[in-house]
């Protein structure tokens, strides 16, 4: 479903930062893959490369068999099939929750307004806040905003969902409500790539865990393997620091 092959990415800011060095990974249909690692390890970068919010310098990224780094690929078509949830929610501030959910449906998917609204209401119901349909993002709590953001991505009927630290900007008491929505999605068989610091979520929901450090994939394995007997020293050190 999603496959990255020796992807490189270097940022040039004040100095050269090699964010990704020869990163390869894959996600099968229906699989939930959690990427963890210390900050600056490149986990968000690889996620953002998967839908071209960052353009990888080198390598191949296949989404559903399409190489998105091929200049002939229409990236907008690929993105329609991939939902993305951001750390800072990024809800459209000038639109209500409902408006956030219907806009891309009508503009990109060309659905009728009625159809889009029905879909939107069903999704708001699913994430548990149908009563907030007419609220603007500024009047919602962080947890509610993130749930609207997940619903917004789902409204496009994506084949893959990407989560970029979806709970990192939330107050502790709101993390649960967002993780619950994500768990439901995972149970429904959604293909998901999740960058997170929530080890509980990784242990409980992930099919596979990818550990990244300093721009490289260090270790890949099932949660049992990963949390019980990690093989690499760097993984052990990271786990000892956070657990």
């Amino acid at each position: 479903m999603v496959r990255a092959e020796s992807v490189y990415k270097t940022f040039y800011t004040t100095h050269k930062i090699e964010a990704l060095i020869d990163v390869s990974c894959g996600v099968d249909k229906g699989e939930v893959v959690v990427i963890i690692g210390p900050s600056g390890s490149g986990k968000s970068t690889i996620l953002r490369c998967l839908n071209m919010l960052e353009k990888a310098d080198k390598g191949h990224i296949f989404i559903d068999g399409v190489d998105i780094l091929d200049p002939k690929t229409n990236i907008n078509k690929v993105r329609e099939e991939m939902g993305m949830v951001f750390q800072s929610f990024n809800l459209f501030r000038h639109k209500t929750a409902l408006g956030n959910l219907t806009l891309a449906q009508t503009v990109v998917r060309k659905r009728s307004k009625k159809e889009a609204q029905e879909k939107a209401m069903a999704l708001l119901e699913k994430v548990g806040i149908p009563d907030k349909a007419d609220s603007y993002p500024d009047n919602l709590s962080g947890g509610q905003q993130q749930r609207v953001a997940i619903a917004r991505a789902l409204a496009m009927d994506p084949k893959v969902m990407l989560f970029d630290e979806p709970t990192s900007a939330l107050d502790p008491e709101m993390i649960g409500e967002v993780l619950d929505v994500m768990k439901t999605l995972a149970l429904e068989g959604m293909t998901m790539v999740v960058v997170t610091h929530e080890m509980g979520f990784a242990r409980e929901v992930a099919d596979r865990v990818i550990f990244m450090d300093e721009g490289q994939v260090v270790e890949v394995g099932t949660p049992e393997h990963f949390f019980k007997n990690p093989t690499h020293d760097r993984t052990k050190m990271f786990l000892s620091q956070i657990l």
Partner: protein, 339 residues
């Protein structure tokens, strides 16, 4: 002290100073106006406000003149009007004039051009005409300036070097030279070239007002471009990323997500820019466009009443700019994020 009593100190401590300040403000205004008035009396200036209204609206006398030579054949009264029939060398014409103003009798011999009667009609004065030209020029320049500024602003943040550098060149050129010089260039350089070319191809010349509007619009466009750019860049990067992640194209994201949010933020600086533009239109008098300032100057030369007229001109500009201010405030309220 009994409950409810209110001494002068209490009054001063609470609302008193505020009331005194308000009173002082009006005293100050009165002092400035009064002082100015007495100063003008000292230099023997005689205020003649009654002469001003005629430059807004006046009653014009329109004379009905005979177009042929001959004898007044008949006078037929029809209500207020009298129909005068003039019969001459095999021709006959009938004119309708108001009965009270009739100047001829039956049998009179009249020549072509003789006045048969007259009526009066209200006409707009030169100041209103000038105000209208100022308004027309400003509205056109604002609309073109927005269009130009929006395109340039978008080009300015484009990744395409050709677009970006063109935008930067335009902005820097226009911002770096005085508007007055630009107006001269538009009219005396570009205008001459364009009008000559149009003449050669058999099309008529363009009137100066076109060059005036172009000069103002191009001038405002450069400033609007920078305002638009700043507005777009002030919108969090995540908004664009979220839009793109949903499969929207760059233009769609701009149109539905970025520009609506940026618009709200750029309204106040945009209002300032367009208020400047209205005032800058007063420079157009130098290329023979009779806008408000030039109209006022003409009236001043004929009446020799500069004090009243320049105050009136300032007031008329104030009406325009204040109306624009109010309109923008209304837009700001209307586009405020609901809830």
């Amino acid at each position: 002290m009994t409950k409810g009593s209110f001494s002068l100190t209490d009054y001063l401590r609470t609302r008193g100073w505020r009331h005194i300040s308000i009173f002082l403000f009006f005293v100050m205004i009165a002092a400035v106006v009064g002082g100015m008035y007495f100063a003008t009396l000292k230099v023997d200036y005689i205020w003649r406000w009654y002469r001003v209204p005629q430059y807004f609206y006046y009653k014009d006398t329109i004379e009905t003149k005979a177009e042929i030579e001959g004898e007044v054949a008949t006078l037929v009264t029809k209500g207020d009007q009298v129909e005068v029939t003039v019969r001459g060398d095999g021709e006959e014409e009938t004119y309708s004039v108001p009965g009270q103003s009739l100047l001829v009798n039956e049998g009179d011999f009249i020549y072509s051009g003789d006045v048969l009667g007259s009526y009066q009609k209200w006409k707009v004065g030169i100041l209103i005409e000038g105000l209208w030209v100022t308004l027309k020029v400003s509205v056109l320049a604002v609309l073109l300036g927005i269009l130009l500024g929006l395109c340039t602003g978008l080009a300015r943040i484009s990744n395409n070097p050709a677009l970006r550098w063109s935008a930067i060149t335009y902005i820097e050129l226009v911002r770096g030279s005085p508007l007055l010089v630009q107006i001269f260039i538009w009219y005396f350089v570009l205008g001459t070239v364009i009008n000559n070319l149009l003449d050669q191809t058999g099309l008529g010349q363009l009137p100066p007002i076109w060059y005036g509007v172009a000069a103002l619009a191009v001038f405002a466009g450069a400033y609007v471009a920078e305002i638009v750019r700043a507005g777009i860049q002030s919108i969090h990067r995540g908004q664009m990323e979220a839009a793109r992640s949903l499969g929207m194209t760059y233009p769609q994201s701009m149109r539905y997500i970025i520009l609506p949010q940026a618009f709200r933020r750029i309204l106040p600086p945009l209002a300032g820019q367009f208020i400047s533009l209205i005032k800058d239109s007063s420079l157009l008098g130098i290329i023979a466009i009779r806008e408000l300032t030039k109209a006022t100057r003409e009236v001043v030369t004929t009446t020799l009443q500069p004090f009243e007229l320049w105050f009136v001109a300032a007031l008329l500009y104030l009406v325009l700019t204040f109306a624009l201010s109010m309109f923008v405030q209304y837009l700001e309220r209307r586009t405020a994020i609901g809830g």
